[in-house]
């Protein structure tokens, strides 16, 4: 299916600019990556409220924390690997324990970062951010959802992490699709299997569902844009209807969105689950599409896992 291709990081930048216009308390900090995360656009419009902190992420995050203590609302931006990984303990002890009102933008999430290679492909942020008390974690599917999520982040007191990517991704929502942090929704109704996806995998899941339909399989697709707080109700309602689940994320399987979904299912309504994601490995250089293919995070993989999990469900019954 043809979908408009747009940058999620442009959604981040556009929302920051709009927030800058609406609220003088909004400030933006970056670590020498403003041209890449596109916070340079905020800088152009609000030079006095933009702070380039140089290549010193730990300091950047705690400086943002300090600024929040003076009533400002800092949005911090750099690549996901550095913001979530290098400064993890700063986020844990200063920001989350202190419940400081700092917003995190993790750019270049996922293997689709491409030629920069493994060091720059963030594949662990969902796991290491969602384990932190007081943290919220959002992985939007496209430009529009990123924009709406960033606007919503500002309204939510306390730390919030949002992940977005480098490449243009297919648009699966519209300007008018409702968005609420912590409220997942089905993008496509179905009865045989639930595909729960986040980020760019929502588009892959829709392609998979389309193909499955042609084979007589009715797949439900859920956009799980918020990993924390996780929408348990929507997960359970769908699993109760379909009886089996495939999770799909551009992220390590261990501890990610799929793990979060399985925690809910195992405790409340155990059904067969298969996961699509990165399988305990680092990425490498390559074109984004080549990497998605090689590391098994495509609609093709979702289709295979869906057929497999449906067989498991039937064998169980």
């Amino acid at each position: 299916m043809e979908r408009e291709m747009m940058l999620t990081r442009q959604g981040w930048a556009d929302a920051l600019k709009e927030l800058g216009r609406q609220d003088p308390r909004v400030v933006v900090l970056d670590a020498d990556l403003a041209k890449s995360t596109l916070t340079c656009q905020f800088k152009d419009e609000f030079p006095d409220r933009f702070f380039d902190m140089g290549i010193a992420e730990q300091n950047m995050i705690n400086v943002a924390g300090g600024m929040s203590l003076t009533g400002l609302i800092p949005f911090v931006s750099t690549y996901g690997v550095f913001v979530s990984g290098r400064a993890w303990e700063q986020i844990r002890t200063s920001i989350c324990y202190g419940q400081l009102n700092v917003k995190f933008g993790g750019a270049h999430g996922g293997i689709s970062v491409g030629p920069d290679g493994a060091t720059h492909q963030a594949l662990e942020e969902i796991t290491i951010m969602r384990v932190l008390p007081n943290m919220k974690v959002i992985v939007p599917a496209d430009y529009y959802e990123t924009y709406k999520a960033v606007m919503a982040m500002k309204e939510m007191e306390g730390p919030v992490y949002i992940r977005f990517g480098r490449e243009k991704v297919p648009t699966v929502t519209t300007k008018d699709t409702p968005f609420e942090i912590g409220k997942a929704y089905s993008v496509r109704e179905g009865t045989d299997v639930s595909i729960i996806a986040c980020g760019v995998m929502v588009a892959e899941a829709l392609d998979a569902a389309e193909f499955l339909q042609s084979k007589g399989v009715s797949a439900e697709v859920i956009n799980m844009h918020t990993i924390k707080p996780l929408d348990q109700e929507t997960i359970l309602k769908s699993a109760q209807k379909t009886g089996c689940v495939v999770t799909a994320e551009e992220h390590q399987k261990a501890g990610g969105m799929g793990s979060a979904v399985m925690e809910v299912l195992a405790q409340n309504h155990p059904v067969p689950v298969e996961m699509v994601g990165i399988d305990d490995t680092f990425g490498e250089s390559g074109k984004p599409s080549e990497l998605m293919e090689k590391y098994g995070i495509t609609s093709k993989e979702i289709i295979e896992q869906a057929l497999k999990v449906i067989i498991r469900k039937k064998n169980k019954n």
């Binding site: 400030v27 705690n62 943002a64 300090g66 003076t70 009533g71 700063q90 200063s94």
Partner: protein, 288 residues
Amino acid sequence: MTYPIKLTDKDLLLKAIRMRRDIVEMVHAAGSGHPGGSLSSVELLITLYNEFLKHDPQNTKWEDRDRMIFCKCHITPAIYSILSRTGYFPPEDLLTFRKLGSDLQGHPSRFHPHGMEMSGGSLGQNMSIATGVALGLKTQGKQNRVYGLTSEGDLQEGQSWEAIMSAAHFRLDNLTVMVDYNKLQIDGHVEDVMGVHPLDEKFKSFNWHVLIIDGHAITQVKEALAKAQTLKERPTAIIAHTIKGKGISFMENDAGWHGKAPNDEDLKKALAELDEQEAKLSSLNPTP
């Protein structure tokens, strides 16, 4: 009551003795805690909280208050004592230190007790917080001053130097950081563990103003804090040479008292020494 206030040196010294009493009593009652670095910071905190920091213990959210950010947060006995003794909470609560359900956590939370501006305990992080507070206030055109208290242990963390670099970059002359330079850390002498010397040259080369004082000489602490308020364009580091365990003879200059609680006998001896210091001081005429 609103601070700062003016006190005689004798009054400040009497307060210092009471603070040392609080410190040993709290750590003794808790059975754990950090007396050494608490005792070395006493004169710095007594002087700052009484005579320089603009604050009102009855109005902790006062917009115009100065901000104190502790970088060395393991010295909670000293922190809680100064907060309590300036009126943030009743001194009776001090002995709940480190107990289940107490506001007085082993390392502080920013939510309690009253008067804490920021949580802390993981070294290196709060130099950045202090920088952020100073930057945030300056960005909004506010006149409040920001103070920090660090240590050479805190300055072994690389992040502290990221913060020091950025505070100078943003010309944060509303920021003054005191270094409680007692030369000892858990594993021994700082210069044996991981040397930080020369601290003055380091701060200078990072474009800070540097003042060097004896951190137990009240007059020098006052002079340095007053001078720092007048220095422009750069933040100021007050490097205060101090003695770990200061004021309790058997704790002085002994790394073993970094994180050890005095037993009943130790406490008795410590309090007797402090009583003696107090008696001696009380017999003197008030200094101007």
